[in-house]
Amino acid sequence: MVNDMNENNRQEHKHFLSPFTFHIKADSFIPATEDERRQQILMRESTSFWKDGFRRLKRNKVAMTCIFVLSFLILAVLFVPIFWPYSYDDQLGVTRGQPVDASYNNLHPFEYGETELELIESGERVFPHIFGTDSLGRDYFIRVVFGARVSLSVGLFASILVLIIGTIYGSVSGYVGGKLDLVMMRIVDMIYALPDMLVIILLSVVLNRVFEDRLAGTVFAALGANMISIFIVFALLYWVGMARLIRGQILSLKEQDFVLAAKSIGASHARIIRKHLLPNCISVIIISTALQIPSAIFTESFLSFLGLGVSAPMPSLGSLANSALAGVYSYTYRLVIPAIIICLIVLSLNLLGDGLRDAFDPKLKA
């Protein structure tokens, strides 16, 4: 095969088929000990599912950036209101017993109202209005922070609601199977078939009416009728996707041999669900919840923008954008700022969800 070897090849046939060199040391050809052989077998470093997943997540730059952005936003939303001297419903130009000081309305960023200017002249330091104030003289920065707080918590709680309902419904349907599964899935199909935005808008309007008077005086009053109707809408409509997903997972998992093995051991149904089925769904649950949050936030902002969301004076990013529409030519930034924050939250949650999927979906495991 190697032609150039033929010249040197004086004997009958060549032993070596390709260029090859070895150095014969005296002890090269003595048997190796058991230990020496065993040293060659390296078992890879032990990794668990979670360790492995997080290691992959850490290497994903996009996902890590998203985590950074999100934690920054969450920290800001949690802690900024504590030390911020203004509050979201404080009309700065309004002092009890005095006429409204219109100079506080519609301030541009880093401008001050008349009384504040006097204070500054007298040498005191006044906390600046970073984003200016709105048409009622409220500090816009703190309103944006509160808006983000509202949007984030709506997203989070709505998703948890979806998670709980979807997981329970889906795992019951998948595990029991048969006729029950058939009926439960037709119900899901029916809910799927409803045009969701239309239902949401109708429901919000109706529920709003219903709740308006009844809420007064209860703990829910603070949330407002709109907020509650948003949650109800989510609870009614958005769990179906999650339920389908979980059912599919459970259906394929319960055919796996390890579930049969557990049965052959004598494990109870509860044990099989708890120890064998749910732990194998957990990655799917986490990923789809992470992807559910931005869709909830988006819906909430959309509804608030239409005036169906949280009730004033509580801001949400959507309602901020809505009220900014009135003066959009002179105060464009009031629309741009909440819009950017919504985009930031939704985008980073979506990208993080994708990152989680890459990291934890065992199908892509190398």
Binding site: F49, D257, A261, I282
Partner: protein, 330 residues
Amino acid sequence: MSDYIDHEYMVEVNNLKKYFDIPLGFFRTAKLKAVDDVSFFIRKGETLGLVGESGCGKTTVGRTLLQLYHPTGGQILFNGKELHTKEEIQAFRMKAAMVFQDPYSSLNPRMTVGDIIGEPLDVHHLYKTPEERQARIRELMELVGLSSEHATRYAHEFSGGQRQRIGIGRALAVNPELIVCDEPVSALDVSIQAQIINMFEDLQKKLGLTYLFIAHDILIVRHISDRIAVMYLGKIVETAESEEICDRPLHPYTQSLMSAVPSRDPETSRKSQRIILEGDVPSPLHVPSGCPFRTRCPKAFARCTEEVPLLREVAPNHFASCHLLEPKQE
């Protein structure tokens, strides 16, 4: 053990039937006769090999035997007793265990090896202190040739052969008397198969186990079994001592099955005469009338279409179901 009357047979199966309902669309179902009128027995400490082509019902026999499927008809006696109540079945689960074919899907990927092997202990509350559980898990891991240091690792970190050892360790945890091995080596490489087969043999000697060994590789079944039962389309067509059935098969199906196995020896391979069967195995949804093998049988004649042959003793300890093998009448 003392509460059992000493029976010769650990397992006795009489006329076992298992039909599955196959949905054909709107509320119509068809009966799939996965196992149809099967009878066999397994003596204490013996290995019964069960061979046959894909879909002939081997797995279904094994699973029905372990009460994982509810039989459509027939009787399963374990140590001479039938099992009826939930408690009896739960007690039976401590006497019989299963080893699965697929070393990948039969181990929960979210559990550590220690937890997998320890699960039967947890389910049946077989320990008093966590230390006792650990000690037992360590003992089982050494028994199946795994290093007990690896108890905290996950199954996906092991090779196929090692995973199969984990599965065997789990089966042994309850100190069973009977183990149903459903193709435990077919997913493994030849060089690893031999390790696992040897381990099965060693464990049998050490612990006095009884095996139902399901496989489709006849060379392996012949090596490990004392007796072999050959299945075709949900029925047992022949059973005999393993030497006997491999060297002197009587049923036409067994004959062609034995000759279809490619020899691993070039000389014998060149000399051997193969009986190549025509056609494919019929679907179990449409089992032919009469003898199920008649559509492919080179020796089929009129009577085969009409009458189902019964399994009968055609030579000492050699049972077969074929009209040709019946003693001539009159």
